[in-house]
Amino acid sequence: MQNDLRRKMVEMKNVSKYFGMLKALDDVSLDVYEGEKVVIIGPSGSGKSTLLRSVNKLEEINSGSIIVDGLEINDPKTNINKVREEVGMVFQQFNVFPHKTVLENLTLAQVVVRKRPKKEAEQVAMDLLAKVGITDKAHVYPTKLSGGQQQRVAIARALAMQPKLMLFDEPTSALDPEMIGEVLDVMVKLAREGMTMIVVTHEMGFAREVADRVIFMDFGRILEEGSPEHFFKAPTNERAQQFMRQIL
């Protein structure tokens, strides 16, 4: 397989995670290669968000191993903050910092974590704001922005750290329909630039446009994986067929 020649960015092996009695992840294994775009779909409660959040250890797993960019993140010797510097995350609820201006949202971690001089951080920030199309809002507080704009700020904020991997946790689910497009456009642009991306979403149009692989999850397990076309035409798993019928 040609895949085997590429570098693995994420390597999950036999990962399980419980919430009390509930098995959120059930012996999941998944490799994501450098530059690959993986879209995870599945009904709510299927474990897809938990899977994504365990990649940067926002959820701690109960067993298995997760290697991100060559580091076993559940090894106590691994500095998780160093790993997270390289892994950008975008949330469903945006989670922009409301007490900071848009520009400060983008510069904060650059200065505090990456120790960049303020001038340089601001330059990086302004370039990214241009990229996501909200340069004119640099000095505005995020509460004054629409949901779509806030999410674009959140994406730019993650990119300001120059991550090697980006995680998206249902980035458009909390948006009004007319704002979904502007966020997806930014994500497509990012995908075209070669960013490694893992995206939890129901936007099959986005999946078809950029995904190398689509993964269908339910009951905490990966039930099927394949190309976007495969899922549009004929998923073999019955649950996957059902799910595709519902969202299309």
Partner: protein, 270 residues
């Protein structure tokens, strides 16, 4: 998974509980209360009018008493401000301790809060000034400030804890996802947002502490109440002295309450 948990939580919460909020300061005037004769106006300007009236029409002994008091007011403010500053520092660390996942730190902070809240302030004052003098002599002013700060630090800790916990979890998750340490996340993201929630109750504590500071007059601290007592025991004008003391405390606490409510309005408007 997150979706499921959230739904369950919503269901469990059911109808909103009515919370009865009884502050221990003077009633804070609300903005809707716009009438000229609000309780606050009547009390505040009434108290001032009383003092002016008494001073003008009965200069003896009221002017004498008023001359006696400024030193005491200064000491009362000194005790209050010093105590609140130390209480804020203690409260910050207690609040952080109370949300710590480290069992030892959490346990220590919780124990401190429980013990201190269970002992009357007056007893704590006696304990530090008189009981501990068996081992170490703490000067009166220091005793007063230590006792007040330790006592109010426990209450302040609960305010900090509630303020920090009022910030949505996603904020810390976003900060941590950017590679910030827990300390950086707390300092740059959580605390600056929590301050808005924390400031108004801290203001109320300030007013409450100012009133409670009258307790230090039983130590040899010459605060407002003690100065009044000194005057009264020399002149035997108990009624006159304590009337003025009460009015002065009332004017100060009403004035501060008003300042706090203005501050609260400003924060809410932002």
């Amino acid at each position: 998974m997150a979706e499921i948990k959230k739904q369950k939580k919503d269901q469990q919460e059911g109808p909103k509980k009515v919370s009865i909020d009884v502050g221990d300061g003077a009633a804070i005037p609300s903005k809707e209360d716009v009438g000229l004769f609000t309780a606050w106006r009547v009390a505040f300007f009434g108290a001032i009018a009383c003092i002016v009236y008494l001073a003008v029409f009965k200069p003896d002994p009221y002017v004498e008493i008023l001359k006696f008091l400024p030193d005491g007011i200064f000491v009362t403010f000194k005790v209050t401000v010093l105590s609140i500053l130390f209480a804020l520092v203690i409260g910050l660390f207690t609040g952080l301790g109370r949300i710590s996942k480290n069992k030892l730190i959490n346990g220590t902070a919780s124990l401190y809060v429980e013990v201190i809240r269970g002992i009357p302030l007056l007893v704590q004052l006696f304990y530090i000034y008189y009981a501990l003098s068996k081992f170490v002599h703490v000067p009166d002013m220091a005793s007063a400030v230590i006792a007040m700060a330790v006592c109010y630090g426990a209450y302040m800790g609960e305010i900090f804890r509630a303020g920090i916990q009022s910030i949505p979890k996603g904020q810390a998750e976003a900060a941590r996802s950017l590679g910030m340490t827990p300390t950086q996340s707390m300092y740059h993201v959580i605390l600056p947002q929590a301050v808005k929630t924390i400031l108004p109750p801290v203001g109320n504590e300030f007013v409450a502490l100012l009133k409670d500071s009258s307790l230090v007059s039983i130590l040899a601290v010459a605060d407002l109440l003690r100065r009044g007592r000194e005057y009264a025991s020399e002149s035997f004008n108990y009624f006159e002295a304590y009337t003025v003391i009460a009015l002065v405390y009332l004017i100060i606490t009403l004035f501060l309450s008003k300042l706090i409510s203005i501050m609260e309005e400003k924060i809410r408007a932002e």
